[in-house]
Amino acid sequence: MALIEIKNLNVHFYSRNDIVKANNGVDLSIGENEIVGLIGETGCGKTILGRAIMRLLSPNVSLEGSILYLGRNILDLTQQEIQAIRGREIGMILQNPAASLNPVLPVGEQVAEVFRCHLGNSVAEAEQKAKGLFEQVGIDPARMKEYPHQFSGGMKQRVMIAIGLAATPKLLIADEPTKGLDKERKWQIITLMSDLIRKRSVSMLLITHDLEIAEAICDRIAVMYAGEIIEIGRTADIMQRTLHSTTHPYANALIHALPKYGMMPIPGEIPSLSSLPSGCRFHPRCAERREDCSQVHPEMREIQDNHLVRCLYRGVSNEHP
């Protein structure tokens, strides 16, 4: 059984004037010991999906569909049941560590409280364990009494990793863990994270817009666009470099926007989640669009083994008529 199985998830936010359709018909599963990358541009709904799994969304949200964690639907859980899962079964690293640590509590305490909350440890035990964890994430335990503002960005991210992994959850959701870090720090953090989760047999949902990182450590990659997953498959299948390959035109464009593959910008703008385009959501920006792309909304199709694409023409035999 998959660890997490998301089926037909719709996450919509209702405000006075409009409805923000942040996630639409999302299907995604994460297996045990698997690292799944969720990639896409800023504002495509990646973060919302990660937070939906933890039920950490604002009260004006409407959630439809199901998020099964080991067979239990997270959306049906009571407040107490979801609290028992948060941090214990599913850990989370929120984006922007500068704002995600409490400025008035010592960093050691912010890690130790996870042990006290979930494992019933005493104050001394929790502190001892936090000490060990600080060593593992590469922070001198002598700094546990310090406050977040005394830490650099990379060090704060290490604290966030320690918080996320403290209770050894089965799944870690990491939202943009490398945002704002320089290249060297970025790879340090990624190596550290992947080492730690492999060692502990933790699965990970890696939310990022950095394709290089996703390619380096993910088993599978899901590409998100305008609140939809438009492609999902093994990393190697997604990261094909040739134009007009079997990958979705959007994923293809993302790959070719990378500096090392030509740095070709994607034309047009990201659509607003409150007024989505008709038909294929990507058609206004797609270099390969055809007439019916603006009318017919494509469904996910399996074009290779375990490789699904949401495009009317990819993988169809008459692709280039």
């Binding site: 941090g87 989370m92 995600s100 509590l105 918080i163």
Partner: protein, 313 residues
């Protein structure tokens, strides 16, 4: 932290120096000849030039100004504030009698406003835009809108004249304290509540609260361990300023309830042109402001580590 305290204390010293200069200078900025003013206060309107000159020499008013200032400062430091020009009472003694009364009223109304404002503000924030929120917000608006003198009179009418359960004036036991404290505390409680509500809402929307929730902490822990400390900071600032004002005496409320505090003393002294008493009161009020602000700064630093460490100490 140690360096921070020293720095703050140095600032208090600086402020107090300024206060003494201004207080002393005020005597000279007042229209008329100080010697004549003092003589008028003592001997009435029909003065002979001899009386004025006698005052001038006995009070050393013919010395250079800076000598006068230093002499005066020397007395002040030894808590000798001189004698009232009108009653010849010792100013320091008079203030020492009045101040505890003001302090009692100030603390009572502050505690009252915090005990109401903070919990109601939190509840209101947690039920944002729900019935409870609208109700408390409406009551708060009412509290802010009611002027002190009006609320004081209404309370006197209801509790003293109609129900006859509480005394309407004077100071004494707890029963005397209730009406003035409620009068002063009501609007403060309303402002504290609104401040607490908006600050709490702001903090609850912060990412570190999402982190706390993502850890699986229960609502109580998220609220009291992670949100409250951060949310209290603006409330502390406001309450500190309020306390500074309250300690300086609240003229209107002290007058309505005939509460023998500093505010009433100051106003009476101003009417009587009792300069030495005015000086004493102003000095005390300045000192209290400086001390309250010092206390607030230290409290702030004890809560927020960024203030404690950030100054390259």
């Amino acid at each position: 932290m140690y360096a921070y305290i020293v720095k703050r204390l140095a600032l208090v010293f600086l402020v107090m120096s300024g206060v003494t200069v201004i207080t002393f200078g005020a005597m000279y900025l007042a229209p008329g000849d100080p010697a004549e003013i003092i003589a008028t206060a003592r001997y009435g309107q029909d003065l002979t030039p001899g009386q004025i000159e006698w005052v001038r020499s006995t009070e050393h008013l013919d010395d250079p100004v800076y000598i006068q200032y230093l002499t005066w400062l020397n007395h002040i430091i030894r808590l000798d504030l001189g004698r009232s020009l009108i009653t010849f009472d010792d100013v320091a003694e008079e203030i020492a009698v009045r101040f505890p009364t003001t302090l009692t009223l100030a603390l009572a109304s502050l505690i009252l406003s915090l005990c109401i404002g903070i919990p109601v503000g939190i509840i209101s924030a947690l039920h944002k835009n729900a019935f409870l929120d609208y109700t408390t917000t409406s009551i708060a608006l009412l509290g802010v809108s009611m002027p002190n003198f009006w609320l004081g009179l209404i309370l006197i009418w209801f509790f003293s004249l109609y129900l006859r359960v509480l005394p309407s004036f004077g100071s004494g036991g707890i029963s005397h304290l209730i009406l003035p404290a409620v009068t002063l505390g009501a609007s403060m409680a309303a402002i504290t509540m609104r401040l607490m509500r908006s600050s709490m809402l702001d903090v609850m929307g912060q990412e570190y609260i999402a982190t706390a929730r993502a850890k699986g902490l229960d609502k109580r822990t998220v609220l009291f361990r992670h949100a409250l400390k951060n949310a209290l900071l603006p409330v502390i600032t406001f309450s500190g300023l309020q306390l500074g004002f309250l300690l300086g005496g609240t003229v209107i409320v002290e007058t309505i309830f005939a509460w023998p505090g500093i505010g009433k003393l100051l106003v009476d002294s101003i009417y009587a042109r009792d300069y030495s008493m005015i000086q004493g009161c102003v000095l005390l009020i300045g000192l209290l402001f400086a001390i309250t602000n010092l206390a607030i700064d230290l409290l702030y630093a004890s809560i927020d580590p960024r203030i404690r460490y950030d100054r390259h100490d």
